[in-house]
Every structure is written in structure tokens, then in C-alpha cells.
Symmetry: C2
Subunit: 567 residues, 2 copies
């Protein structure tokens, strides 16, 4: 094995801090700053110090090896990109304020790439002319830019960050499915090797367009995504992507609808209490304006409307809440007593839980009056079924019906079957086997490389600090010279021997720093094995500590070396 480097802490630019940075809210932010891995340069813009750079490089290496293994070809595209291709696909505008835009000295419009679908499509358009040139998977590991409204959580959500993005180009849907499956497998190998706990979840495609998409989510309290996990079957999905199946029921024995006086019950809570029924027996009707037109949204009384889902459904139309003024202009809409039956000139969308045949207590469109036995499909028509409710813990699994568990998670990877959105916009064809042009179909796949470092820090830490999995750790062994100059000499000698055997060593050889401070720093920094060269070094005895388990063992130096070099 080749000689590995010995990094001496006496010379290392990695100051540890005793206190959390004032602006840090999440664990990984606190620990990575305190342990000297990263430093903030500007809002959402970070510098990687030597130890952080090593971890980042380890993650990059693993990503590279597994991408190479599926036959992906590494390229490096620019981050500074011309406006035109993004104009052609509409993303120059769609990205809104999230896109960093700038002008060059001649006034030309440029952007800092947030993701590179357009440029890769043009590259393949330049390079591939025939069906023989496909399929191809291209990838890069590169700096990306997004002007987040609220950059937060340290490197978890930066404005400049490292990403692996890859793009597949295929002749047909079967080819795309193959390229997608290759990525799915490569991502599993990558996250397994990184030592991340993760779930593969069905996902909405979001702003990327396209059909099939899955997210790789790493459960962590600091996560910005919520995902639902079935304790019984293998179902897992981002809650944004869960849709309830429409299940019509038989309403033939439901009596005719009738009005009931319900004074002073303008809310679901007051109504349910007054009638002695559960909120789930009532139908809640939320009024919104979609591009200025009033739309009613019906959901069971015990559920919350997820306005993000409503907005996503109507996008790019603008969704607003109704105002006092809207009620004043529309006397047919009785605030607190709206019901879908007899609602004229108002589009009615409903959650699938308001399936045909279900019966409800709902507003009667008169003050202080509700109606009961109001049946969907009989007493009112639903213009469109859209899943718009907030998913709750215990909601039935769409696959097996078991109550779902909800968790926070970090999105560490995302794979998309984009289809022809970009190849249509940029007209990417190759000559097919039959001599006719074939429109190429495309996939897009991302891994947040710097974010993966944050996810690792979230998942691999305790109250003392970080605990890196072996393959990503900044070193294999942290040698602590705990004592006088003599111990330091032994520690450096041991470090040299370990390095000669290919073990990556961080050695704390600082003079004038107490053993206690060195131990605290070693636990904060989180190298998996800690070798203490202390009082008994003179007798040839050292202590080996396992950072994760906390186990300690005194043993002869030679035994410790044998153990560490065989690991």
C-alpha cells in the first residue's frame, strides 16, 4: 500500500470552537463549524477548511467511482452560462429570483448554473448525430448556484454548493428506463458506501418537468422535507407526492339532504361540538381566487388544506385567499356557511376523500344554517378531484393501508425521467436506424455532494461531536500525544509507521495543549479510531478508543499498529 500522509495538528488550519456559532440552528451546522471543517464566507456561501475539504473529496471519490462503474462519462461544464439556452426552455424566467443573473463587460446576459439540462442537451446535440452515438450518460461534479431566499442550516442549504449532476440520453422510453435504473442502483451503492441512512421515495417532479421521479431522503431532524414511511410494507414517499385514491361508495341508502338550523357555528369546531359529531363528518369548503376567479376547495372537516399542493395544481396561475371584499361582491357566498350544493358560478374542486357517494354535513349557503346527508355526485358535482390535504401521521399507506409514519429528511439525491421537455425545446434529434430523425429522451439525476457531508454530520454525531463513517472520515486514525515531549516523539513515530502502511493519520502533536483539550477535540473532530499515546507509552503501551462506541482498550503499541493497519 502506498504511503499515506500524516497531518500534524500543530500545523493544521482547523481551529476548534467550544461554543456553537450564534447563527447556527441545526446540528450539522454547529458541529462542522465547531470542529473546524467549514467557515462562513457570506450568507449561504462557505469555505471548506482542510479537514472539510478531505471529507468532501472522499464523498466526491465515492460518487465518481460509482458513476464510472455504470459507464457514465465525466465531463466538466462551465458554471457561467449564456442566457439563450435557458431562454429557449423558459427557465431564464421560470427560475425567478433563485437564479443568479449577471452581465459581462459587453452587456451580454449570463447566469450561474443552478442545474445544466440545457447545456448538456446542446452538448449532445453537437456530439451525437446517429442512433449509434446513444445511449450516453454524462456527469460532472461541479459548483452550483441558487440564490435561496433564506440560506440556512450551514452547508445544508447554501447558495453556492457542490453537486454531482448527470444526464442520460436515450432513443426511447425503454432506454430511459434502463438509464434511470442504472442511476437508481448507483445511488444506492453511493449512499450505502457513504454510510448514510436513507429512503427512496416517490417524489413530485417539481420545477424540472417530466414524469417519473424519486428522491433519496436521509432522515434527519434538520431536514426540510417530510416523508411518509410505511411500517408494514416498502412504501415511502415525500408527503408532497402522496395522493389518496378516489374510492366511490354506494349512497343509495342515504336519506335526502335536509337543512338544519345551526346558530353560531361559523367554524368546523363549533359545528361539530354543537351537533355532537366528529369533525370528519363535516365538509370544509375553502374559498380561494385562482387568477382572480373564485374556486371552492372541499376537504373533510378534520383535514388541513395544503396550499402548496393547491398552488402546484393551478400553476402557473396565481392562487390567493379570498378577502372581505370578495364576500361583499358575492352575496351568494355566505361566510362560514358555504356548501357545494347549489353553488353557482364557482368551480368546485375536492379532495379524493370527498368521493362520489360520500355524505356530509356542510354549509347550506344561508346564515346559521347547515345541511346534512349532502351526498357528493348526488347533491353536488365535483368539477375536479385533486389531492390537496396535508398528509398526517397515521394516514393509510396507499399500498397496504397501514398507518403511515412521518419523518423529517434531507434530500440527498433526486432522479428524474425528464422525457422530451428539453430535447423538444432545443430540438435534439439523432438519425434513427430507419434513417428518420428520432427525438431523444432524457433523464436528469443529482446528488448534493456538499449537502451529503451535512447529512452525514446530522446522522453520525453524538453530544461530544462528529463520528465519521470510515470511508468519508478525514483520517483513519487520530493519534493523540497525551503528555510530555517524549510522548509526542512516540506519537509521531507511531504516526509515521501507520502512514507507511497506508493508514491516513491525523496526529495531535500540539505543544502546550492539555490532554483533556486534545481528547475533547478528537471527539469533536470524529475520526473513527483514536490512539492515545499517554503515560504508559514508555512501557510500550497505548490506548485505542473507538469513537463510535466509546470502547477503550490498553494494549502494546505493536498490537495497536497491527490492528489499525489490518482494518
Amino acid at each position: 500500500m502506498a504511503n499515506a500522509p500524516v497531518q500534524r495538528m500543530s500545523q493544521l488550519m482547523a481551529k476548534t470552537l467550544r461554543d456553537d456559532p450564534a447563527d447556527a440552528e441545526v446540528l450539522s451546522h454547529k458541529l462542522l463549524v465547531r470542529a473546524g471543517y467549514v467557515r462562513r464566507t457570506a450568507a449561504g456561501v462557505w469555505s471548506w477548511l482542510p479537514l472539510g475539504r478531505k471529507v468532501l473529496a472522499n464523498v466526491e471519490r465515492i460518487v465518481r467511482e460509482e458513476m464510472d462503474a455504470i459507464g457514465a462519462q465525466e465531463v466538466l461544464l462551465p458554471a457561467l452560462l449564456p442566457r439563450e439556452p435557458y431562454e429557449a426552455t423558459g427557465r431564464w424566467d421560470e427560475y425567478g429570483a433563485e437564479l443568479f443573473r449577471l452581465k459581462d463587460r459587453k452587456g451580454g446576459d449570463y447566469l450561474l448554473g443552478p442545474t445544466h439540462e440545457e447545456i448538456f442537451t446542446l452538448l449532445v446535440k453537437d456530439q451525437a448525430t446517429s442512433y449509434k452515438d446513444l445511449p450516453v450518460i454524462l456527469y460532472q461534479i461541479q459548483t452550483k448556484y441558487r440564490d435561496e431566499a433564506r440560506p440556512r442550516a450551514g452547508i445544508l442549504r447554501g447558495r453556492e454548493f457542490q453537486m454531482k449532476d448527470s444526464y442520460s440520453f436515450d432513443l426511447d422510453d425503454e432506454g430511459l428506463a434502463r438509464s434511470y435504473a442504472l442511476h437508481r442502483q448507483a445511488y444506492q451503492r453511493i449512499f450505502d458506501r457513504l454510510g448514510l441512512d436513507y429512503r427512496i421515495c416517490a417524489a413530485t417532479a417539481g420545477a424540472m418537468g417530466g414524469s417519473k421521479s424519486e428522491e433519496f431522503l436521509a432522515p434527519a431532524a434538520a431536514g426540510e422535507d417530510t416523508f411518509a414511511d410505511c411500517p408494514n410494507c416498502d412504501f415511502a414517499a415525500n408527503t408532497e407526492a402522496i395522493t389518496y385514491e378516489l374510492k366511490p361508495v354506494d349512497a343509495s341508502d342515504v336519506p335526502a339532504a335536509e337543512e338544519i338550523p345551526t346558530p353560531d357555528t361559523p367554524t368546523i369546531e363549533t359545528l361539530a361540538a354543537s351537533l355532537g359529531v366528529p369533525a370528519s363528518a363535516t365538509l370544509k369548503n375553502l374559498l380561494v381566487k385562482v387568477d382572480g376567479e373564485i374556486v371552492a376547495v372541499g376537504v373533510p372537516g378534520d383535514r388541513e388544506v395544503d396550499l402548496d399542493k393547491v398552488e402546484a395544481h393551478f400553476a402557473p396561475a396565481v392562487v390567493e385567499m379570498v378577502t372581505e371584499g370578495d364576500f361583499a361582491n358575492r352575496p351568494d357566498l355566505v361566510r362560514g356557511y358555504v356548501g357545494p350544493q347549489g353553488l353557482d358560478k364557482v368551480k368546485y374542486i375536492a379532495d379524493p376523500r370527498v368521493a362520489p357517494g360520500t355524505a356530509w354535513i356542510t354549509g347550506a349557503n344561508k346564515p346559521d344554517t347547515h345541511a346534512r346527508n349532502v351526498v357528493a355526485g348526488r347533491d353536488f358535482q365535483v368539477d375536479e378531484y385533486v389531492d390537496v390535504v396535508v398528509v398526517q401521521e397515521g394516514d393509510p399507506c396507499p399500498k397496504c393501508g397501514t398507518g403511515l409514519k412521518l419523518d423529517r429528511a434531507i434530500e440527498i439525491g433526486h432522479i428524474f425521467q425528464l422525457g422530451r421537455k428539453y430535447t423538444d425545446a432545443l430540438k435534439l434529434d439523432v438519425l434513427g436506424q430507419n434513417g428518420k430523425p428520432v427525438r431523444v429522451t432524457m433523464g436528469s439525476y443529482g446528488i448534493g455532494v456538499s449537502r451529503a457531508v451535512a447529512a452525514l454530520a446530522e446522522q453520525h454525531a453524538d453530544d461530544k461531536g462528529l463520528i465519521w463513517p470510515k470511508e468519508v472520515a478525514p483520517a483513519d486514525v487520530h493519534v493523540v500525544a497525551a503528555g510530555k515531549a517524549q510522548q509526542t516523539e512516540v506519537a509521531l513515530d507511531v504516526s509515521g509507521r501507520l502512514a507507511a502502511a497506508g493508514v491516513r493519520v491525523l496526529v495531535d502533536d500540539r505543544a502546550g495543549v492539555s490532554p483533556g483539550v486534545k481528547f475533547t477535540d478528537a471527539e469533536l473532530i470524529g475520526v473513527p479510531a483514536i490512539l492515545v499515546v499517554g503515560r504508559r507509552a514508555g512501557e510500550g503501551v497505548v490506548e485505542l478508543r473507538d469513537r463510535r462506541t466509546g470502547e477503550r482498550e490498553e494494549l502494546p503499541i505493536e498490537d495497536a499498529l497491527a490492528r489499525l493497519t489490518s482494518a
Copy 2:
């Protein structure tokens, strides 16, 4: 040795072109595009295709290994940088139009880093508090941005490019000298390993400030720098940095100055011809305006004034040429007949060749009249000596006097002893051994990583294409399957065996491509060894070609494998 990858050309995204790109002027631009290494994305903004990315990664690896070897610590700083630190050092403005500036969504000012002195200084200010924390050398390999007025020559002078930049921080001048020497040695090892022909040349410090600086120049016709090389001693310098020594001479036997009528001799050429003297016997006086004040610049009549040197001397004052209007306003300045003697109210600077005691024929400040025996220091005073002439082939070596040779070259590396320019502006002190604050001194060192690839292409090519040195080549062996399917099978088998022995293989397994086209592509791509699996493959015989020498040898497959795996 570990398994190396086999890259199949049938799947490789690297289209070769028969013709030079229309906009290409220099060799490396033509060849790197034609051989499928890079593609233009926008003016001065390039994409690295798979083979190009491999060469770039090889250069990065060599740079990294040699920087690590001198104890430099790798970090990664952002490219998107806040305005404030660059405001503090004055470079936000000084950089002018070359700096890409942009605003974030909140209107904050940012720039894309052209070089990172400010940010590294602030990083060390955050990390180092005591003399014990120094010296330190930090480096990064990172994307840099400069909005060149005329991006040209492909990747040789891009607006987005890869650079290794490092920064040393020391307590005193001796420390800085040591850090500088370490870099100088590391750079020699790097460029030696890269296989570049280069010279270490004295350089002006340019816009960076500071005292001592040397450039690593790679001779190439496409170079933008001119350097002078002594054929006799070890002197080499960027011509911008050469200054002639001031050598006063004895003028005691020069007769008194006297006027001579010289009708119709407004130029040096007409004057010298009319008097029958060499132009070098005359003194040329160029008038310029420095911030509006007229200044005369005296140089021997046979020399050209280098206006860049004049501007550099007076910077940041603005230097302009005098106009008709200026002569009209100053009747004492007689156009074509200006002489330094009796020139009132005009600052006079002169080249050191106009040393005290030298005698000249020059204008007499009267129409159609010159003066001879006009002696510097006797008949006129020089306010300031500044070397302002264009260096010429054959000028004496400042060290040994031999006539210098001039050549074009590419600047591939630059090392600077910056001193305290940035640490003063950003107040970087550490506590010294005596308990008092010490102002830190700094060096800054750069290698153009992507430019080095262009320099390699300039120096290692022939009329058939590129010829990469082994350590940077995109593969070790280019296996060409020159024939039918059977040869392709053998070629792939041979490639697999080479790869298993750790040899990096590019194999041309394309179907329907003639052997002739494959040979032409192999020569264009420039992998050092070419293994042809052709007609005699059935008998177990292949051909080994040396791309550089063109030597060919037929030999048994096993012998070829043995040769290639032992190389």
C-alpha cells in the same frame, strides 16, 4: 496494481473533426477542439469533454501531490464572493471591467473571484491567533473568473478557467523567503512532471503589488508574453521586467553643445540620414500628458518607447499622448525639434541609456534646428531615470552582457512575495513570541491548471495532432481494432488484460469506421502508445506504434502486453 478503466470509443462522447474550427487562431485551440477534448459554450467559456476532463484531472493530481509534498493544506473557498473585503483592499474598483460583478436577490454586491488574496487573508485572520499557528501555506484548485476584453486562443485565455492558487502566511521576511522557495521548487517539480518546457523569469509584480516575483513561462508561438533568454548565462526574464543599469560615463572631453541647422528633419530617420549618423547617436523626446501635465520621455533615437512601461510607472495616473492642441498652447514646444536642454516647466524622464555623461544630437527647440554634443547632466537634467524602452533581440544580458534572445511564451505559473499589502489592508496580526502583535507577511502563487493543458498542447504536437506526455495523457495506450469483428474481439480482450494490469486503455472498437480513419483519429488524440490489432491478429501478431517518434514494430501479442505493462 488496481484495475484501470477501459474507455471504448464506440461509446465515448468525443467527436473528432477534420477541419479546424473557424474561429481558432492558435494550435492548441485547433487541436483540442478537433480531437474532441473541449467545446466552446460561450465566448471564453469552455466545456471539457471526457478526454479533456481526464487530462485536466491528471494535471490537477500532479499539482495536488506536489503542493501536499511541501506541506501545503488544501482548502476550497467559494467563487461567489462578497464585495466588502475587495473594497477594503481597493481591488473592487482597481480590477475595472475585468471583474464579474453581480447582485443577489436582496441587492447585495458580489463578485466572481479572479484571485483570492482577500478571502485567504480573512480566513487566516479567523484561524490564526498566535505565532505558533504560523507559518502556513493554504491552496485550492478552483474555478476562477476574469472578464477578459478579448477572450481568445481557446482555453489559453478563458473567462472561466481552472487555477491552483496558494497563499503563504509568515511572521517575517525570512519566513516568506522560505515559503517562496518551497513554491519555486514545487513548481519546478510540477512542470517537470507535466513535461512542459519552461523558463523561470524575473517578472514585474503587475496589479498584485509586492516586491519579488517570478514567472514560469512555457515557450510557445501562441504565448502572449515575450521573454528574453540569455544564450550564455542563466538569465531569463519577461521583457516587461528587464531594466537597463544606469552607467554614467565621463563627458570631460565632449566639446560644448552647439546648434546645427537641420532643415526638413522632423523625424529621427530624416535627421540621421541628413547628418550621416546612426539613429543611436540621436536623442528622441516623446511628449505625453500624465494626468494632464506634459512630461517628456527621452530615449536613444533607435529605440521604441514601451507605453505600457510608461503607464505602469505613472499608475494610477492616466497617461495620454499630446495633441495638436497641446502644441498650440505651448509655443515653447517645437514639434519635431524638442530637446531636453532649456525645456522649462516640463518634467523630463529618461531611459537609463541616456546616462549622465552621454552626448546626443537632439532638437534645439527651434524649427529646422538641432543641437549636438548635448550632454546629459551637463546641458540638461534628467528628473527621473525609468527604463521605458521596448526590449529588442540582441540587447545585452543584464547579467553577462551577451546579446539576448527573445521568444513568445505562455505564463503557466507565477510566484509573488506580496509582503504586507493585504495583511495591512485587512489588519492580519498574530501575537508574537514577545506578546506583541506581529503583522503577518504573505506570498501568493498561481498555476493556470487549464492553461497548462493548452501549453502542453502547444508544445507537444505535430502536424498529425497531439502527443501527450505520459503522466498527463488521457490514456496510456490507444488500442485500434483495425479490421473486422474478429479483430475487435481481440482488441477488447487485449484491452481488458491491459486494464487488469493497471494500464489505462482507450480502445477504438467502432464498427463501420475504416482503419484509416481510426489511425488518423488516434494520431489526432495523441495517446503516447498505439497498439494496432489488425490483419495479423489471427496469428497472434500486433503492431506497436510510438506516437511521438512514429516508430512501428510488429510483435507477438504477449510481447506487446509485457512491454506495455512494464512501462
